[in-house]
């Protein structure tokens, strides 16, 4: 079974520092990491490899600058077999439609597959749109917010999905797309063997020409949305901090606060 896992490199938001005087983010200090939620997508593919009876090949795919090769190496060190990077200046500035389009073009050129797995959302764009948009463009079925894989074989997968109302059990014919949540299970750590493999595995690069698309189809030009303004919200809280003499006093503040807002 062939599985494609989509992983993105993002700024390390846990390292983001806020300049307290302006309430803005200090961008220059940010390093790039693998999207934390994509670790769960990788974990899912490795769980499937363990469950599935036959042979499984897992390919991690990323689109980004050459540096994004790092996240593919990380995927291989965790147990993925192969890494492909879509990288070209022309891909820059892609919105979710153009990102899905470019990744879709690549997938159509690769070997047939059973499953495409994405993270729930990327922590930079935070849209969670790439998986469903890709499924729409490739006319594949999709299950989002997947929390468990119950069964998988060559023709279908049985999955659990979490919604506001509860947990659905769904049977999806393959090939298909899933996006997974953290509930899938803690991602495993890279192994020493994996790290050595990552070091020795060459990441395959697809640029505009190799992908066989034109400038206009991808990146900023191929995008349907445009960012027209970026601004930094000021943290506008009162920051009222009260030292209380006893819990009773604290509770009276809380109750008053809730009453003022019509809760109690």
């Amino acid at each position: 079974m062939n599985i494609y896992v989509l992983v993105k490199q993002v700024p390390a938001t846990d390292k983001v520092k806020i300049d307290e005087s302006t309430g803005t983010m200090k961008r220059e200090e940010v390093e790039a990491v693998i999207n934390p939620l994509d670790l769960y997508a990788i974990e899912t593919s490795l769980q499937i490899k363990e469950m599935y009876e036959g042979k499984t090949s897992i390919t991690a795919i990323s689109m980004g600058p050459p540096k994004a090769e790092e996240v593919l190496k990380e995927a291989i060190s965790m147990g993925c077999d192969r890494g492909i990077l879509l990288s070209d200046r022309a891909f820059a500035g892609a919105d979710t439609w153009a990102t899905s389009y470019t990744i879709g073009k690549l997938i159509k050129r690769l070997e047939p597959f059973s499953l495409i797995i994405t993270g729930e959302r990327a922590t930079d764009g935070e849209t969670g749109q790439v998986g469903p948009s890709l499924a729409g463009q490739l006319d594949l079925p999709i299950v989002t917010y997947t929390s468990r894989i119950l069964e998988i074989n060559d023709s279908y997968a049985i999955l659990e999905r979490e919604t506001e109302e509860g947990t659905e059990t769904l049977k999806m014919k393959l090939p298909g797309v899933i996006s997974v949540t953290k509930a899938i299970g803690e991602p495993r750590l890279p192994t020493l063997k994996g790290k050595i493999k990552a070091r020795n595995t060459k990441i395959e690069i697809f640029d505009l020409e190799k992908l066989g698309v034109t400038n206009e189809e991808v990146g900023l030009l191929g995008s349907l949305t445009r960012v027209v303004k970026v601004f930094y919200p000021k943290i506008s809280r009162t920051g009222r901090r009260i030292k209380v003499k006893d819990p009773e006093e604290a509770v009276s503040y809380i109750i008053e606060f809730l009453q003022e807002r019509g809760i109690l």
């Binding site: 307290e20 983010m25 919604t163 059990t169 809760i263």
Partner: protein, 330 residues
């Protein structure tokens, strides 16, 4: 060509869900500015209440009815919606940033080749062009971006639930309800074989009050206090920091933050949570925040409207007692 603003309503447990009414309030602002009609698209089976959609602001309701639309399936929804959207060619389509909206909207946008902006917190119309201006937070709420869809139609956006209050319900409002019975040929590749409803009354993302706990609660046995208090406050739910989810004190669906849920209730109450950026990312946009922490330097206080320096456990048990007393007095 007549322009149209369309909202995609949501049906849960066979009833029109309140997100639908919030969406009408969002849509009304836009349709007023564009001087166009505001329509609601409702997919379901055997629904009553369609008048309600008019009372809350719709000029027209398209009710697409079929047994197979009884619960959400992205493939079946798309089979019905893609041709329908092409036919009515609306200017704008809005949906809630719920598990349904966040799935069907990008799936449709992929098929329609339409631009889509996720999780907007504010929407406006650009005067000169009549284009939709979509503002949304990114990078854990550290940045706001305004986004336009200049050349493709429809302009699609999802908006955060609870981001706006529904309009005043007005039973004098009139409008048209158009019932459409689509034929569904598709043998969906996705089939629902079981469903287990959530046990809690209110889901975390829908709650008006979130009562959250962190490592400051000291012992897994204290978590029940959060649930006890939640039972005493209407429309509330229990949240948690990752630290206590990782330690197994509470289940993952309760986790708030970067790798958990994003919530924006009227009041978020954090008991013994330090306020790491990853936690803040999931709750910073709450309407108001109360923080209780014994460390006066805890970063959570930077985002709090009411910060109480004190012992979370003592305050929790006292709060529980007071709320019980209040309940017994009425």
């Amino acid at each position: 060509m007549s322009r149209e603003v369309v909202i995609l309503g949501e049906v849960r447990k066979g009833k029109i869900h309140s997100v639908t009414y919030e969406l009408l309030a969002w849509g009304k602002d836009l349709s007023d500015k564009l001087k166009t009609r505001l329509s609601a698209l409702i997919l379901g089976y055997n629904l009553g209440d369609l008048e309600e959609v008019i009372y809350y602001g719709a000029d027209k309701v398209y009710y697409l009815e079929h047994p197979r639309l009884d619960n959400f399936n992205p493939e079946v929804y798309a089979e019905v919606l893609v041709p329908f959207i092409k036919e009515i060619a609306p200017d704008i389509i809005l949906a809630g940033a719920t598990t349904t909206g966040r799935t069907i909207m990008p799936y449709l946008a992929g098929k329609l080749k339409a631009g889509l902006t996720a999780d907007c917190t504010s929407l406006d119309i650009e005067e000169e062009t009549g284009l939709l201006l979509q503002t949304r937070p990114a990078i854990g709420g550290n940045v706001l971006a305004t986004i336009k869809t200049p050349s493709s139609k429809p302009q699609m956006a999802t908006v955060r639930p609870k981001g706006k209050k529904p309009l005043e319900r007005d039973t004098n409002r009139t409008g048209e309800i158009k019932i459409i019975k689509p034929s569904i040929d598709l043998n969906s590749r996705i089939e629902r074989i079981n469903f287990k409803p959530r046990e809690e009354e209110v889901s975390l993302v829908d709650a008006e009050v979130v009562i959250s706990g962190g490592k400051g609660l000291k012992d897994p046995r204290n978590i029940s206090l959060l649930f006890d208090i939640s039972k005493l406050i209407d429309s509330s739910a229990v949240g948690a920091s990752r630290a206590i989810v990782d330690m197994g004190w509470i289940e993952y669906p309760h986790q708030v933050g970067l790798s958990g849920k994003t919530v924006n209730p009227k009041v978020y109450i954090a008991f013994g949570i330090s306020g790491a950026v990853q936690h803040l990312a999931g709750m910073m946009n709450s309407e108001s925040i109360i923080a209780i922490n014994k460390d006066p330097e805890a970063p959570i206080f930077q985002v709090a409207d009411l910060g109480i320096v004190g012992d979370a456990l003592e305050i929790l048990s006292t709060l529980k007692r007071k709320l019980e007393e209040r309940k017994n007095n009425v």
